[in-house]
């Protein structure tokens, strides 16, 4: 993921609900970080106001510059 590292960072599921940070650290399917949001701080809370996350595609085939065509 690419974002400003000084911002608050939350690990969320695809619906934007808070997950334990370890879920993202482990690279669990569908989990990702969003930056700059806020939540109640409990697992399952919806994180609101968070920034858009990027970099969730494009990492296969040698990363950026990889050939997906054949």
């Amino acid at each position: 993921m690419t974002a400003c590292r000084s911002q608050r960072r939350d690990c969320v599921d695809p619906q934007g609900r808070l997950l334990p940070d370890s879920t993202c650290s482990a690279g669990t399917y569908g989990s990702h970080y969003i930056y700059g949001g806020s939540s109640g701080g409990h697992v399952g809370d919806t994180v609101i106001g968070g920034s858009v996350s990027r970099g969730g595609f494009g990492g296969t085939g040698g990363g950026h510059g990889g050939a997906g065509g054949e």
Binding site: D13, P14, Y29, R54, F57, G68
Partner: protein, 395 residues
């Protein structure tokens, strides 16, 4: 048919670059676009190749129904999470743009080698570079090539479905970038608004539950030259599936068409192409149509009766991991090592050979219809990313 040796145009590099083929030379300095020869066909031979392409497409369509009816996606190594979306996409028929069959043809028999249905490349050279080559060098001859016209026609058909335009994305290699750029151009000529975005630039807006561009605008339609099997192994896999039916319905509509069944983002190629771009399809086609004259014996659980065969990884790309076995002995590649998703074992096909080269005929389809051909040549039996593209014509 025959391979004819000729003198390349003195400034061929500049000429093909002008029409978008910037990747004309391999890293070792030898030509990838090789106009020191061309393949010449009779019109009757082209008719056979065209008819064979249409027939294989018919077989593939029938196989798609059976794969889903018999729940065989797991056998193809396709993740279970993707199954509902594949099934829903197959049934709701979102647009599918193009594909390329790789055919073996020795002048007598035509055999399917594989179907690159999701992310085929070699398009700029097949659609454009060889057409200009023909126009400049052999104006009196013809070419199996209606790719450009058919692509534009398909985009025109889609115009009403895609009022907000299409994003074109790739992983960043030069060939993929130029292929996407060419397809983007055909979409513009078809009257669509287009934008380019790199795959890694695509954002996920967790509030709106939509993919967004670098300006955080919602992306409603995405053409991606990026394989589905890669997408589904990446951090946004679940988000991608969440934009597809049956999880998501489209939130905005075209002026005259209803695309609610296609999901909140229209993906081109659709996710059901995972069934066709997967080499397990070759074994399923043979099982469903044993003895068909366009198919080679192929199996998933070993070579069976075959003593000469090609072992291909189900998700292999550009010839990677392929081993060729002749009379029980590996003559190209190696048979050691295992692949998590498994292999397909396919009989060797009679191939066109000339001047120490083996040719594979890439037969293109646009909107499910035969649309043209490109010829790749290799010094061995396996077509890979160093195999040359050689133009063709017919008389």
């Amino acid at each position: 048919m025959r391979r004819v040796i000729i003198e390349p145009r003195s400034d061929w590099q500049a000429r093909v670059e002008r029409v978008g083929l910037t990747y004309h030379t391999l890293e070792n300095g030898t030509p990838y676009w090789d106009e020191s020869a061309y393949w010449e066909f009779r019109s009757s031979e082209i008719d056979r190749l065209e008819a064979a392409t249409a027939e294989v497409q018919r077989l593939a369509l029938a196989a798609g129904d059976i794969i889903l009816n018999q729940d065989r996606l797991a056998q193809m190594g396709i993740p279970a999470e993707a199954a509902p979306a594949i099934r829903a996409a197959w049934n709701s028929e979102p647009p599918a743009l193009y594909g390329r069959l790789d055919l073996a043809y020795d002048g007598t028999t035509i055999k399917l080698l594989e179907y690159n249905a999701d992310t085929p490349t070699g398009l700029v050279e097949a659609a454009v570079a060889q057409w200009y080559w023909l126009e400049e060098c052999y104006k009196d001859a013809d070419q199996f090539n209606s790719l450009h016209e058919k692509l534009i026609a398909k985009w025109k058909d889609l115009k009403d479905y895609i009022p907000s335009g299409v994003y074109f994305a790739d992983g960043g290699s030069e060939e993929d970038r130029m292929t996407v750029s060419y397809l983007q151009d055909t979409a513009q000529q078809g009257g669509l608004k287009t934008r380019h975005i790199a795959m890694h630039e695509i954002g996920w807006d967790a509030k709106r539950l939509r993919f967004v561009d670098l300006n955080n605008r919602v992306m409603e339609t995405l053409f991606k030259l990026y394989p589905w099997e890669w997408l589904l192994n990446e951090p946004f896999a679940q988000q991608a599936l969440s934009t597809l039916p049956p999880q998501a319905a489209l939130q905005e509509y075209g002026p005259r068409k209803d695309r609610r069944q296609w999901g909140s983002m229209l993906w081109i190629e659709p996710i059901w192409k995972m069934m066709w771009s997967n080499k397990a399809l070759l074994a399923i086609l043979w099982e469903l149509n044993p003895g068909h004259d366009l198919l080679l014996p192929a199996y998933l659980d070993g070579p069976h009766e075959l003593t000469s065969y090609v072992r291909k990884p189900i998700f292999g790309r550009e010839g990677a991991g392929i081993a060729v076995v002749r009379d029980g002995v590996a003559v190209e590649g190696v048979l050691t090592g295992e692949n998590e998703q498994g292999y397909v074992y396919q009989a060797l096909a009679p191939m066109a050979t000339a001047n120490g080269k083996t040719a594979v005929f890439g037969s293109w389809l646009v909107d499910g219809e035969p649309a043209g051909m490109g010829v790749r040549e290799s010094t061995g039996l396996v077509t890979n990313n160093t195999s040359c593209f050689v133009p063709h014509l017919f008389r």
